[in-house]
Amino acid sequence: MAGPATSGQQSVEVRGTVVIDVEVCKGCELCIEACPPRVLTMTEVERNAEGYLYPRLHQGCIACGLCAQVCPDFVFQVWRYDTPETVSLAEVTGS
């Protein structure tokens, strides 16, 4: 299963990624709840030109497209990799 690492896991399978058009985001956070692997989090300080916080992607997207489906502002472009990428946890967390 992809998604954020659960303690004990050695690697995650990353099936895709998203391009986030942060400038049209309105900070509603609907995407955060919708993301099954919960790899989206909101910025805490940075804001876009309209003054909104916006989401960032963490490693572990499964390309499910739910963020795009629930986003009222069409912020996401979702990519599915032709082949999933296996990311070693040690590598990405530097631990």
Binding site: G27, E33, V87
Partner: protein, 284 residues
């Protein structure tokens, strides 16, 4: 215990080979910002409509008739022909369009204020007439556009600008359940109440919209889609709380499900879901 992996860049397409499965706005929505509030459910609902039009390959023969509400400001963003109606009057305009161009897919997009307050009569007459159009109600239980006052669908206890202590039957009367009101009319072929508060409900929304539009093209008669949409602004709550508020308050009264389907009788596996009193049978 889950642990978040590091943030990765997301401002550019990836270099790893892959394909786009969701491309910002769908094909029939023009790119760029829109003026609706953060967390508003209406763009999600309208997106579902145009995506289904695209799937059915009806983009070049569709006319959408818009009411007046927040969604009005969204309508010029569609790459589908749009006829703007006055507040409440969309079903009659849709009737005129359909009668003049029977081959077109004709649908309305109206809010609860537009359809159930100002234009209640129009939609009922259109339904009774069995007019072969699809009326789509974006129901958020408030006049979003004018500041969040109570509408005719506001559920008891719901907080709005003029019912800050919650709608009270004694003072403000009872809500109208639009899908149920229309269901007994003989001219009506299909009614479903959907919601856009989570991915599962969005998927059903899309499915039922597709069915309604298909039935229209097959000449079945009047079809009706009610979509419960979030209006955090008019509900005076945080955007993030709105999906749950919808499920717990609104959908508890306006139950999600297929309310009428004259085609179901003929089907072996009817595309019919039992009404769901919570609207929150979900993967949220």
């Amino acid at each position: 215990m889950t642990q978040l992996l590091p943030v990765i860049p997301s401002s550019e397409p990836p270099t790893r080979p892959g394909k786009v499965v969701d491309d910002f706005a769908p094909r029939l929505i023009l790119p760029g910002e829109h003026a609706l509030c953060p967390g508003c459910g209406e763009p999600i609902a309208i997106r579902s409509v145009v995506e289904m039009i695209d799937e059915l390959e009806l983009a070049a023969r569709s006319v959408g008739v818009f009411g007046i509400g927040c969604y009005t400001a969204f309508s010029p963003k569609l790459d589908v022909e749009v006829l703007q109606a006055l507040h409440g009057r969309a079903p009659s305009l849709a009737t005129g369009v359909k009668r003049a161009k029977p081959d077109c897919l004709v649908f309305t997009v109206q809010g609860d204020g537009d359809m159930v307050n100002e234009g209640l009569q129009e939609v009922i007459h259109t339904a009774a007439r069995g007019e072969n159009v699809t009326c789509i109600l974006l129901n958020n239980g408030v006049f979003g556009e004018t500041g969040g006052h109570m509408t005719a669908t506001t559920v008891l206890g719901q907080r709005t600008k003029n019912t800050l202590e919650g709608r009270d039957a004694k003072r403000h009367g009872y809500p109208i359940l639009m899908s149920e009101l229309l269901a007994p009319l003989d001219g009506v072929a299909f009614i479903a109440r959907c919601a856009v508060n989570n991915a599962v409900n969005i998927t059903r929304t899309r499915r039922w919209i597709k069915q309604a539009l298909s039935m229209q093209m097959a000449g079945a008669g009047f079809t009706f889609i009610e979509v419960l949409t979030m209006c955090p602004t008019g509900w005076f709550i945080e955007t993030g709380e709105a999906p749950d508020y919808l499920a717990d308050k609104i959908a508890a009264v306006h139950a999600v499900g297929v309310v009428k389907d004259i085609s179901a009788a003929d089907k072996t596996a009817p595309d019919k879901t039992a009404p769901d009193k919570t609207g929150s049978d979900t993967t949220r």
